[in-house]
Symmetry: C2
Subunit: 391 residues, 2 copies
């Protein structure tokens, strides 16, 4: 992506405002995301500078803002070889826009103001085939082995492995992909130039060389605890599915699973011994119907293949006869509002069906043109159906 | 159960015919089960003696039959302290009649002609709270530990642990129950007086002393390979749910899970490392939606509590308002034939819903009187519903 192409769609003032905002606001701040959407980044930046109470979360952002110059931030980043990529710019991965859609529909997953990128990879290309592999920092040898093997197999299948570069499962996943020359993305809660954890400095260098390091906080930022949870939504959004390899009951990895669900992506779960606390969080996800059990790369590919978001259209589905549709399909369709972008979660609530069943039905309805997939949601299609002719 | 009480409901000739049939027919023979239902045991026995081709499976049963005397079999068994219990006799567990129901509706699970019993336990009382714990003969230490711990916890919760007395998981389950003075039932593929496997002779003696040994083949019978699979349906039928602890992809334990599903009972599955082939069959059950993942006794009790078959009615459910019903409930009910006993499997096929969703909906519909549970199936209830008033 050349800088020239970027400037075609997003003004340098907008970019500077976003960069500045990323330096003084909390990652994933919903009010900031809404204000930027409604008023634009420049006006939001002015509001922060002006001390707008509605936006002032930390009560220090105004004071901090006075010392921030977005243009300077961008310039310094460029000198370090760090790009700043904003929504709608060429190279911005379309799946990330599912976050923007949630601001209106479903559980809110605030989109990042932009993403700081470091490395040789092309984010949009990498995200097209990305699968996240996440889990506990304090993983077991079983978990590390599974994460590494799975990442290796995903890389060999041409998938990008997304993770958070943390100790344990994350590192095993990145290494598994790098080990076979695969591509991998590390999404950090700190600046893309900050080696955190410090002992992963070499790992991060390898990731930058073969893939990409991504963050929504500016270069040089040290990670704050809350930022790890916000960071997890970027991991989920970049990936067609997220594999949770090991997670104790209150593990941070479970937050990635929650983001995954809010974004209608596949949560895939590796089981383990019931005698291991590190698998207890995983088992709970499966028991609650919040995740699909997977036992290897074939299961993962099958599951994200079913999702279809990031996959080429399946010609077989085009010819599926309407006669194959079952009452469950009709029911899902009957509960969709004519003028709304529906979410799987919303329809699941309205119908009482499991979310997985709703998602499957929507995909099958889409195959016959009864509904259409659109920016992370679903809309009634224009095809005349038996239902229309009946009413 | 006294012999006098038995003779009130079933004639000695019928008992003798069933005993004789159990000696010359294959356990679980569907044609025999259907003929006995339609023509009675005595007429079926005469047909076998007369060489009825339609019933002659092994081509040797007629020759064998000529040497069998049912009355003698019963007498010899009585001398050994072995009872023969026939359907509808006092002491016959009601849940076993779910097998008879399947002959008309759903996948056929042929009921046994009767059950040979050895031990001090009361079968009907034990079956009221029974949970099966089954799995691979060649189990891992992990599997053996889980089976033993789970059986111990089930026994401490007042449940009867049902299993097959085989090596591995079965033995660990029986021992786990016996270890805390719990009750346990061993269902054998050989005669109840045949110590098989031989090294389990002492274990079987303990089971007989504290619980019950059950078989549908007469005393003295050596087990045939095919009989183990047929035996598994008795394990499934006696239990509100079956826990599969470890099962390789083609393990016999998976046949118990199949029977469990055919009988609309809960299939509960213990996960394990994905690196262990002994857990692969378990994971497949979960992935296919054929089983519910459980991680301990609480999960098991919750799952079989939900089934409700063997549980006292829940007063809270009586007062559940109809307003709580969701479209999914209406859909399930709309697809039920007015005059039929419906099965979960049949409704799942007809609606396209997962079987678990159908089962949940039926239970919730039953709570408001819209459907009734009956002999292992479901029937439309008589309550006037919004649907009736609408059509």
């Amino acid at each position: 992506m050349s800088v020239e192409r970027v400037r075609v769609t997003v003004s340098s003032a907008d970019r500077a405002a976003r960069a500045a905002l990323s330096a003084v606001t909390e990652p994933g701040d919903e009010r900031i995301a809404l204000r930027v959407r409604d008023a634009g980044a420049e006006a939001t930046w002015q509001a922060v500078l002006g001390g707008d109470d509605a936006l002032d979360r930390s009560r220090t952002s105004r004071r901090r803002a006075e010392h921030v110059d977005g243009g300077e931030l961008l310039e310094r980043a460029e000198q370090l070889g760090i790009q700043y990529l904003c929504p709608s710019e060429p190279g911005w991965p379309a799946p990330l826009d599912d976050m923007a859609v949630t601001l209106d529909y479903g559980d809110r997953v605030p989109p990042p103001l932009g993403l700081w990128l470091y490395g040789d990879g092309d984010l949009a290309a990498l995200a097209e085939s990305a699968v996240a592999v996440v889990g506990s920092r304090a993983c077991s040898r079983y978990g590390a082995r599974v994460a590494s093997d799975l990442a290796t197999d995903l890389a060999l299948a041409g998938r990008t492995v997304v993770s958070g570069a943390a100790y344990g499962i994350d590192a095993a996943a990145h290494r598994g992909a790098l080990g076979v020359g695969g591509e991998t993305i590390a999404v950090l809660a700190c600046g893309v130039d900050v080696p955190y954890p410090r002992t992963h400095a070499q790992l991060l260098e390898r990731i930058a060389a073969d893939g990409l390091i991504v963050s929504e906080v500016p270069p040089g930022s040290r990670p704050l605890r809350a930022w790890f949870l916000a960071r997890n939504r970027i991991i989920a959004a970049l990936s067609a599915g997220t594999v949770v390899v090991e997670a104790a009951p209150r593990s941070g990895a479970l937050s990635t699973a929650t983001w995954t669900q809010k974004l209608s992506r596949e949560t895939l779960v590796v089981p383990g011994p019931i005698t291991s606390d590190l698998s207890a969080g995983c088992h709970t996800l499966v028991r609650n119907g919040a995740g699909t059990l997977v036992t290897g790369v074939a299961d993962v590919l099958e599951a994200i293949g079913r999702l279809g978001d990031h996959m080429p259209p399946d010609p077989e589905r085009e010819t599926r006869p309407i006669d194959d549709l079952l009452p469950v399909h009709l029911m899902v369709r009957e509960r969709m509002y004519a003028d709304a972008l529906e979410t799987v979660a919303g329809l699941a609530r309205r119908t009482g069906l499991p979310a997985r069943t709703v998602a499957t039905s929507l995909r099958e309805l889409a195959a016959v043109g009864w509904v259409t997939r659109e920016d992370g949601g679903w809309r009634l299609g224009s095809t005349i159906s038996p239902l229309e002719t009946r009413t």
